[in-house]
Amino acid sequence: MNRILVYLETHGSGLKRSSLEAITAATATGASVIGLMTDGNETAALSGSEYGLSTCLIAKHPLLSEKSSMAIATTIAQAAKQENVDYVVMAANSTGKEIAPRIAVKLQAGYIPDVISLDASSDKIIAKRPVYAGKAVVSLQATTAQCVMTLRPNVFTAKKQAASLNVSEFIPLIGSNDGRVKITGLVKNEGKLDVSEADVVVSGGRGIKAPENYHLVEELANVLGGAVGSSRAVVDAGWRPHTEQVGQTGKTVSPNLYIACGISGAVQHLAGMSSSKVIVAINKDKEAPIFKIADYGMVGDALEILPKLTDVLRSTLHK
């Protein structure tokens, strides 16, 4: 039986949803799963046990409190050795993307980032991941004894499954060298949801015509409890921040619902959102490429449709 170490990140008093997704994905392979936290406590681990986590290590070290990415990588690699795991799995978010390659180097392990499916029907897990911004998908397998993987957020669904939890402390050996990088500040996006983590994304493009019309996109996103995205055109025009850009040179998203408003659907944009579960396109031009990948399309002016759609949704959702 495979052994998988899952790196767990906290959110409030519990765990990030992407970490819960990783627990579910690892458990679904039939492997024996061990959780590891570097900034958590027993309460957070307990929230993981609602999703099937039965073993959790809680690592403690001053450099971990300072969130040194090097210290976190060292800790995970040492835990992977101690627990003699075959796989190390974590979310493909900004933390995972930064530390997972380091862990792979430390373990002399293969590295498979941004995984969207795991096939454990043979002894060695086969992982699928998108390449060329989702224009193709490759199936990969490590040739090494151990393998490090990051899982794309929002692709695997976290499933509740109660387990009884065993928690133990893990004391890593971390040299002062790992203190060479530390996070010294964080200005939080108050109440703003990141496009890459949202269930619903509403994006605007050139069809929104002017930055002062963008509130129509924001209002629709608010009603749906979603995040606001943007096409490259409106980011380059300076209407919106780059953090909102969806596409090949922005963020890749796979929400349950993606609504493209006044976006024609350049191949670079499609690459960033085509893995969304349900796609709605609103565009004046019925020949626009966005309609080719949409589940539902509305041919018309986004500026006229958006306020009406927001109103209808508001009354429907409040029933």
Binding site: S139, T144, L257, V280, Y296, L309
Partner: protein, 246 residues
């Protein structure tokens, strides 16, 4: 300051991907290759650091002869030296990381684009940093260097983070770090005759095997409505009852 910029050649973003007869890689015929868009920010940052702190900027890439084109672009933008680590195989990320690390040893700062837009791994800067035992910060949208102190700002999911580190270190560049310059025609002409140093790669075995490549299946409902009030109500009904996403 000894500045290295690691760059890569990628298919143009408009490329329509088809699978090669081996069933594992992209068919390369007819594909236009370009300098990875994020690497433009890395090169520009290297040049601006040279202006502020003095020193030299070296661009390095791993690839075949065709990769000389992106090194010429870097030279036209103003880098001092260009190195091509010759590799005609389609090697995995470890091979590239090992070879880059071997070449850039001893640099003060090493700058990458945040990701190459072909394999989108976001892995190279952290891998090379780990091999060389250097600190690294990825996705930098602002970089300030004072003596050996380095402060980086970057956007993460929860907000804007400030990260402190020190030279020597590895940085990966996010869009917005700077405004990359366009090379001027005379510089493009001059770059054509500048030397490109070629090096043989060091061998290392690959750690990940590609079993197959396929094109994603699109299986969309494709219901097209108009823009009347009735259509809008119908869309909401479909999202609620058929797609069940609201």
């Amino acid at each position: 300051m000894n500045i290295f910029v690691c760059i890569s050649q990628v298919p143009d973003t408009t490329t329509k991907i088809t699978v090669a007869p081996d069933g594992k890689t992209m068919a390369g015929t007819g594909v236009k290759f370009i300098l990875n868009p994020y690497d433009e920010f890395a090169i520009e940052e290297g040049l601006q650091l040279r202006t502020k702190h003095g020193g030299t900027v070296t661009a390095v890439t791993v690839g075949g002869d065709s990769s000389k084109e992106i090194l010429r672009t870097a030279l036209a933008m103003g880098v001092d030296k260009a190195i091509l680590i010759k590799d005609n195989e389609k090697s995995d990320s470890f091979f590239v990381a090992q070879n880059l690390a071997e070449t850039v040893k001893g640099s003060d700062i090493l700058i990458f684009g945040r990701q190459s837009i072909d394999f989108d791994s976001y892995s190279m800067s952290s891998m090379v940093a780990e091999i060389l035992d250097l600190p690294s910060v990825s996705m930098a949208s602002k970089l300030t260097i004072n003596g050996t102190n380095v402060v980086v700002e970057r956007d993460v999911e929860s907000g804007k983070e400030t990260v402190a580190t020190s030279l020597p270190c590895v940085i990966s560049a996010q869009k917005g770090l700077n405004d990359p310059r366009y090379p001027k025609l005379p510089d493009i002409m001059k770059a054509k005759s500048k030397p490109i140093e070629e090096r043989a790669p060091i061998a290392c075995s690959s750690r990940v095997e590609t079993l197959s490549m396929e094109l994603p299946k699109t299986n969309r409902t494709g219901k097209i409505l108009g823009d009347s009030d009735a259509d809008i109500r119908e869309l909401v009904r479909l999202l609620h009852e058929e797609a069940k996403v609201i």
